[in-house]
């Protein structure tokens, strides 16, 4: 369970988030809102990439600021720019990088890498140079590198921003099929309109917290007003 308790975030005298209090338990939670509304900051607080100025965030009872390692072993993060997320020169090596601290046999390591590649349809690319992949394939690789660690929660920060329609569909089909809890910040309203819970953010505050349909309608109304 992810809990925000009166969380505020200030950056250089600017209020990025103000008095956020909520619990995120649903298997799918969307976050929508304009650029700069605080969507990414909210996600970054969950796995301790950002520390709240006031209030507390807990993930399964643990504060990410104090228990970063434990939280990050359970919570993975998919960024919008896969180029920043891929560390190793080849596809297989990048996935293996995620397992570097897992004390598992070489055989299990190999099997988990193969499974992760199969999950995203990159089985034929294991020894392929990462920089020669298309943007869509790079995002799928970033996804595989995350899923190989078998996290409980997946945070997605506008993961489809750099993708074409086809690759967006591929990525979303993969995400839809995952058993993990997914918290996704996105500008793609169709994507989250069917989700059980969507937060609408504006100027660092949650202005609506409801089902996907209602939240999307609220957000559209704020844009049109």
């Amino acid at each position: 369970m992810i809990c925000f308790n009166n969380v505020g975030l200030t950056y250089e005298d600017r209020n990025v988030l103000t008095e956020i209090t909520c619990e995120l338990n649903e298997p799918r939670v969307g976050i929508i809102g304009a650029n700069g509304s605080g969507k990414s900051s909210l996600l970054r607080l969950i796995n301790g990439l950002t520390t709240p100025t006031t209030g507390t965030v807990t993930v399964g009872g643990l504060d990410p600021t104090d228990h970063g390692r434990d939280v990050r072993s359970r919570v993975s993060f998919l960024f919008s720019n896969p180029d920043a997320q891929i560390v190793m020169p080849t596809v297989g090596e990048d996935i293996e990088f995620s397992l570097r601290r897992n004390k598992i046999s070489a055989l299990e390591r190999h099997e988990r890498i193969s499974q992760a590649l199969a999950l995203v349809g990159l089985s034929d690319y294991q020894e392929h140079p990462a920089h020669l992949l298309s943007s869509g394939q790079k995002q799928l690789l970033a996804m595989a590198a995350i899923m190989v660690t078998e996290p409980d929660i997946l945070l997605c920060d506008e993961p489809t921003t750099l993708l074409d329609r086809r690759n967006t569909r591929v990525l979303i089909d993969i995400i839809d099929a995952l058993p993990q809890q997914i918290i996704m910040a996105t500008h793609d309203l169709d994507l989250v309109s069917q989700w059980p819970r969507v937060l609408v953010m504006e100027h660092g505050e949650i202005i609506a917290d409801s089902s996907g349909h209602e939240a999307v309608a609220t957000y559209k109304a704020t844009v049109d007003r």
Partner: protein
Amino acid sequence: MIGIYSPGHSILHRTPTGAKLLLLLTFTSALLIFRSITTMGIAAVVLLVAYVLARIPLRLAMTQLKPLRWILPILFAFQWWLLGIESATLITSTLLLAVAAAALITLTTPVSAMMATLERMMRPGQRWGLPAERIALVLALTIRVVPVIADIVNQVRDARRARGAERSMRALVTPVVIKTVGHAHELGDALIARGLDD
């Protein structure tokens, strides 16, 4: 020349990384100690045989040496002027053979294997605070960011052309530096998210 691994099952691919690094050290040391045209000839033949054994395509091998195409003639001319043709030949051929040998190691060794070997080699230093894992990671990141920065430069060059500022160095350098620093920040976040700082 980003020294990307070329997959294969040759004897060189199967040789342990530590042994390959030791061979590279021996090879380059021999070039420097036994400096003669004969040594260079023998070393060239040995290296050629090694490339054939590793089944590295000629085009890929030549790509590794491409960045030297400007440095070598300038170095050769300069050394010829200063020290004479024999010294110039020895110095430039030593550089060429050393780079070709190093390229052969990277072509036949996955970066992850190189990282693991370097970490093992630096392990004794960890007692005195040597960050072995981070140093090995820097090697991998250096190789990884070369194409990323090349992409950034190409994007900025196109943008500069589109705005009619082809000759402006400021219009090239400033955005490249800003974008590169931005990429470094994003990469840092991603590394933390992937558990590097834990």
